[in-house]
Symmetry: C2
Subunit: 115 residues, 2 copies
Amino acid sequence: MTDTFEPKFDAGGLLTAVVVDARDNAVRMVGHMDREALDRTRETGLAHFHSRSRGKLWLKGETSGNMLDVVEILVDCDQDALVLRCIPRGPTCHTGADSCFFRRLEDDALVALED
Amino acid sequence: MTDTFEPKFDAGGLLTAVVVDARDNAVRMVGHMDREALDRTRETGLAHFHSRSRGKLWLKGETSGNMLDVVEILVDCDQDALVLRCIPRGPTCHTGADSCFFRRLEDDALVALED
């Protein structure tokens, strides 16, 4: 079955985008995309987001060089969330960790994951 | 380094929660959690969300029985997104697919993934 891509942006004009490392499926980050970020991502093959804090288009890795090359985009059943399967050029988190999800919850503490 | 868990709910009072299958790391669904859904998830070990369409607490699998047993919760750098590592009791998508992300984007078409 083939359906047409008709992304359902939320009231703020955004989709949720989950970045996973195409090599091991690990979740690297969660971002948000407006139409512009989605279009730029598809045109360039590099993951772009809409920065909610800065209110503008954001090429991930523009400053650090740690861009995300998009291999494949998966779309969920109701078309309001995407999974971007990417090959990361370096660490994804601004802390220098490979993934923004580098801690697990234990009671009310955040404990660093062991590699 | 240990930090304190201080979830940063957005303007709508929500966190983004990415459900991954703890067995193979596959992303199963993306949901949203308010404080109530987060607390209930942690109390019960079963993934709960806040349904944006129905505006209320939602125990995933309440109707279908396909609940998600939460093995571990990962927290991102800025504490506004979670990864729930789960053992699913059955398919996660309401369509009957294991994952809500059962299609990939190809030009402007959605093409079913091959298993």
